[in-house]
C-alpha cells in the first residue's frame, strides 16, 4: 500500500517528499505532482520562486496545474482567476473592478528546493534530506508501488543501485516515481548512458515476478 508511512533509516517519519527535479520546472510554468496521496499544483513564478497548492481552483475545481503563469501569478485556465504566490486570489477577470474576497485562497503546502531537487511537505517542519554533490539526472515513473520497490532496494532516503542514486516518491495505485541522481561531473554521453541504465532498471522492476 502506497499510503502506509515509511520509516527512513534515521527513524523519523518522512516530512518531505521529493516531487520534481529543478531542471524540469522552468520559470513561469506549472506541473501536477502527487505527495502522500494529495494532488498538488507545483509552479514556479517568473522570479524563480516556488509554490505547491491543492490542485483545484476554488472557483470551479479546475486543475490549477493546467493554468499559466505571468510574472509571479498563476491564472486558472478555466476562467482566469489569478492567484499570487501565497495562494491568495488577486483578480477575477469577469469582474475586473472587484477586489477578490480574502477568503478566496488555495490551501498550500511547504515547498523548498535544494541541490536541484524540489521537495514538498504538508507541515513544513524540519528540512529535507541533503543529497550533497549528487547531480539530478531525470525522473521516471515505475508501475510498481513504493513499498514493493523498497522491499527490493532497501529503505534509505537516497538508495544507491546500479551506479544510480535514487529518491523514491510513492504514488497512488501502485506506482512510484524514481528521481535519479548521478555522481557529479557526468558529460552528455555519460548522462545518456545513465538514463538508459535507468530505463533498463524500470524494465527489470516491471518484469520481475518478485516485485509485485
Amino acid at each position: 500500500m502506497t499510503d502506509t508511512p515509511r520509516t527512513p533509516s534515521q527513524g523519523t517519519p518522512p516530512q518531505w517528499t521529493p516531487v520534481a527535479l529543478s531542471r524540469d520546472l522552468a520559470p513561469a510554468t506549472a506541473i501536477p505532482v502527487i505527495a502522500e496521496g494529495t494532488e498538488l499544483a507545483l509552479w514556479r513564478g517568473r522570479s524563480g520562486r516556488l509554490a505547491a497548492w491543492h490542485d483545484r481552483c476554488p472557483h470551479r475545481g479546475m486543475r490549477l496545474s493546467q493554468g499559466f503563469v505571468r510574472d509571479d501569478m498563476l491564472s486558472c485556465l478555466y476562467h482566469g482567476w489569478r492567484y499570487d504566490l501565497e495562494g491568495q486570489c488577486r483578480k477575477i477577470p469577469a469582474h475586473p473592478e472587484l477586489e477578490p474576497n480574502k477568503a478566496i485562497c488555495v490551501p498550500a503546502w511547504s515547498v523548498t528546493e535544494a541541490t536541484g531537487i524540489i521537495w514538498v511537505s504538508e507541515t513544513g517542519s524540519g528540512a529535507p534530506p541533503d543529497t550533497g554533490a549528487l547531480a539530478p539526472l531525470r525522473s521516471l515513473t515505475v508501475e510498481r508501488s513504493e513499498d514493493a520497490l523498497r522491499d527490493h532496494l532497501g529503505d534509505g532516503v537516497v538508495i544507491e543501485f546500479d551506479g544510480l542514486h535514487l529518491l523514491l516518491q510513492g504514488l497512488p495505485q501502485g506506482r512510484c516515481v524514481l528521481h535519479a541522481l548521478t555522481g557529479p561531473g557526468l558529460d552528455a554521453a555519460g548522462q545518456r548512458a545513465a538514463s538508459h541504465r535507468l530505463e533498463a532498471l524500470r524494465t527489470r522492476f516491471e518484469d520481475s515476478e518478485d516485485i509485485a
Partner: protein, 209 residues
C-alpha cells in the same frame, strides 16, 4: 491548396499547424465527421475511397495519407539530405503508431469508436516512454526538438496525438521531457491551437492590460 478538415481530428491539425508554422495559407473545407458522418457521402468517397480526413488537394494532386501531406506541405522542414529525411521518416512512422494507440484510445473514449481501450492505453504508454527517453537524450545535447536544432516534420507529426493523450485517459504528468518539448513547439512563431491543445497564454499580452 484546399484541406478537407475536421476540427477535432489530430491528423487534420497536423496539416493546419504545419501550414501555419511555415506561413502557407490553406483553404479549409469543414467536414463534420462525428456525429455528422460527412466523410461517408458518395462525393467524399469519390475523392478519397478510404473515407478518411484530412485530404489535401493542390491542383491535380490529391493526398490522403498524413505523412504524404506533411512532406508536401513541409518544404525545407522536411530535411535537405538523405540522412535527415530518413530520420524524419522514422518519426513519421512513429507518429502513425501514436495515432493507432493514443489516438485510438481517444477515439474509443470520446467518439464511441470500437476497440480495446485498456490495450490502446498500454500500447500508447509504451510509445510515450520511448518518446520521453529520446527527448531526454536530445536535452543532453542541448536540443529541444526531435531530429535537429529546429523543429521538423518529426515534431509536428508526433505532437498532436501526444498532447491529446489525456482525452484517451492517458496522463502526461510523468513525462518532464515531453512537457518541455510541448512548450518549445507551442512557443514557435505562428503556432495555432486546437480544442484540447491550448496555446501558451503567457506569451500573449494580458487582455485589457
Amino acid at each position: 491548396m484546399k484541406l478537407y478538415d475536421w476540427v477535432l481530428s489530430p491528423d487534420c491539425y497536423k496539416a493546419r499547424l504545419l501550414a501555419a508554422l511555415t506561413g502557407q495559407s490553406l483553404t479549409t473545407v469543414a467536414t463534420d465527421v462525428f456525429p455528422g458522418k460527412d466523410h461517408l457521402t458518395p462525393a467524399f468517397r469519390d475523392m478519397n475511397p478510404r473515407a478518411t480526413l484530412p485530404v489535401l488537394v493542390a491542383g491535380d494532386l490529391v493526398l490522403t495519407e498524413v505523412p504524404a501531406i506533411l512532406i508536401y506541405l513541409g518544404g525545407d522542414w522536411g530535411g535537405d539530405n538523405a540522412t535527415e529525411r530518413a530520420r524524419q521518416a522514422e518519426w513519421l512512422t512513429f507518429s502513425q503508431r501514436l495515432a493507432g494507440t493514443l489516438g485510438l484510445a481517444r477515439r474509443i473514449d470520446m467518439m464511441d469508436a470500437p476497440g480495446d481501450l485498456a490495450q490502446a492505453q498500454r500500447d500508447g504508454t509504451r510509445l510515450l516512454r520511448q518518446l520521453e527517453a529520446r527527448l531526454f537524450d536530445r536535452q543532453t545535447l542541448g536540443h529541444a526538438f526531435l531530429t535537429g536544432p529546429a523543429p521538423t516534420l518529426a515534431d509536428i507529426a508526433c505532437f498532436p496525438d501526444v498532447m491529446l493523450a489525456p482525452d484517451g485517459g492517458v496522463s502526461l504528468a510523468p513525462y518532464a521531457a515531453i512537457r518541455a518539448w510541448s512548450r518549445a513547439i507551442r512557443s514557435l512563431p505562428g503556432f495555432i491551437e486546437m480544442p484540447g491543445i491550448p496555446r501558451l497564454h503567457e506569451l500573449s499580452p494580458e487582455p485589457g492590460a
